[in-house]
């Protein structure tokens, strides 16, 4: 077992087990703690995949932002310190059956598909496959780049014949997302303030 395989298997196990624990735990704060391990595990998987920037964004947005927000929400809405909202056995059974069926469907698809055509058989050097933060930033700024990474080891690779694609840039989606975030900021502030305003008016 190489070191990379060891890392992958341990991270994947942590991620999957804690994801199942999130779904299974009855206490919502426990669920949030398991979610922490899930998100951190996913972030480490991104790092393992050579996507440093996405991994760091995952850490800062999910763990540093969303998770804190969720815990805030839990604390603001709990009546007692340890409130359980029990799910009945019937609901559990339904969600378990549906979940297992869907998992079977997805796994069946994954194993049935022939990924070797899409996937390069050789794991190439990180520098060649993974895009750095610079490339991501340029793409988001609208600087179009060739989508196909220049190929240093072409003879060794078993890849699809690369059709010429037009270079793509993402300035417009980036702007849309920024405007979206501003709208969300205003909307969340409005929703959270609504009650207090009514009280002062009354």
């Amino acid at each position: 077992m190489t070191f990379e395989e060891f890392l992958f298997w341990s991270l994947a196990l942590i991620t999957c087990i804690s994801a199942i624990a999130v779904a299974a735990s009855q206490n919502i704060v426990r669920a949030a703690v398991w979610l922490l391990f899930t998100l951190a595990g996913v972030s480490c998987l991104y790092l393992l995949l050579g996507a440093d920037f996405v991994g760091a964004v995952q850490l800062i947005v999910y763990v540093g932002g969303i998770l804190i927000l969720v815990v805030f929400g839990v604390m603001l809405t709990n009546q007692g310190p340890f409130v359980n909202m029990k799910t009945s056995a019937g609901e559990w059974a339904i969600s378990l059956v549906v979940g297992l069926l869907m998992l079977g469907l997805l796994l069946g698809c994954i194993f049935a598909a022939n990924w070797t055509e899409l996937q390069e058989t050789l794991v190439v050097d990180d520098a060649a496959t993974s895009r750095s933060a610079n490339d991501l930033g340029l793409a988001l700024l609208g600087v179009a780049q060739p989508t196909v990474v220049p190929d240093a080891q072409a003879p060794k690779l078993n890849v699809l014949p690369q059709q010429k694609k037009t270079p793509v840039a993402y300035l417009f989606p980036f702007e849309i997302v920024s405007v979206h975030l501003v709208v969300v900021l205003v909307g969340a502030a409005y929703l959270a303030r609504a009650k207090r305003r009514r009280r002062t008016a009354a």
Binding site: F3, R30, V33, D52, A56, L59, G64, L67, I68, M75
Partner: protein, 387 residues
Amino acid sequence: MYEWIVAYWTPIIAIIAAALLMGLMLVQAIIFVWLERKVAGRIQDRLGPTRVGGKFGWLQTLADGIKLLTKEDFIPDAADQFLFRLAPYLTVVGSFLTFMLLPFGLGIIALESNIAAFFFLAVLSTEVFGVIMAGYGSGSKWSLFGGMREAAQMVSYEVPRAMCVIIPVMIAGTLNLMLIGRQQEGFIWEWYLFHDPFTFLAFWVFFVIVVASCKRAPFDLAEAESELVAGFHTEYSGFRWLLLFMAEYGSMFTTSALAVVLFLGGWHTGLFPKDLTHYLGPLGNVINVIVFLTKGWLLVFVMMWVRWTLPRLRIDQVMTTGLKYLLPMSAALLLGASLYPLLWNTFIPTAWQFRDPPAIPAGPAPLKPASVSGPVNEPASVAAVKP
């Protein structure tokens, strides 16, 4: 044997680097606790520890540590056992992970990353979760209040902190902390602190934010002993309490060290035109590490000084300071720092204009087998820098 070493080179080096950094964190915490008590004593016109280990009480912290380790492992009945046990470890991990991104000298860094500054902020922002869990899991009202205050404070101070980090990053043109450090090579006016008026102000704003985000006085509302007994660690004792404090001292040092890298010239003395390794070889790097640690410890000392000098703010004042003053200030500084070079270059003679950051000679990677290196690899990294 040799093949085995080659195959597992990366994890071996990583473990050595982690052990060294862990040792640094522990030893530092011991020194800081002693220093804190001495500083507090001096400021309050008393002596501080004097007995244990000779005249200055050198071994006081060690004695305290042994006392803490032998205490009863106590968990309150009302506590959520799982969260209560887990929380200190989460906090320590968040604090420790930042150590691996610090450049202690030329090529002396555990993990040289292209997004190091961003990753640093990301890891720091995870530290607060452990504190919230400690507050919630203790099952005590004081702890819960402490945890909630801490969460509110951390979340609101994260934004201006990130903005202040962006200012030197923008000047350097890279997120790589090692490169940011190398670009400040030379005399003291090459430091980003003196780059332009906005960076000069940004350092002070950043330092205030850092003090607040380490939950140090005057912003230590999470553990305000006059209001909340001891805040989020009211119910903790023994080894877990020790871990919580190690995390606090660790993050004090790492955030100070981040300020040193971003503004205070990193490991450079500021007295010579070139890096010390240029003159002295590997010995220069030893001096570099000492200089870096000294600068970091000086900032930590200033934090202690501030703690024992200023009275504590109220929680609403803390939030006001963060959201109404520091956030607009850092936004204005970011804007100013980005416009200043443009305007300056438009109206000022060519000779005095800002130039692009000097191109760093792209040496080969410091260590061949992997991007992970540690202080053990001094000669390799030094050789990489020499032309």
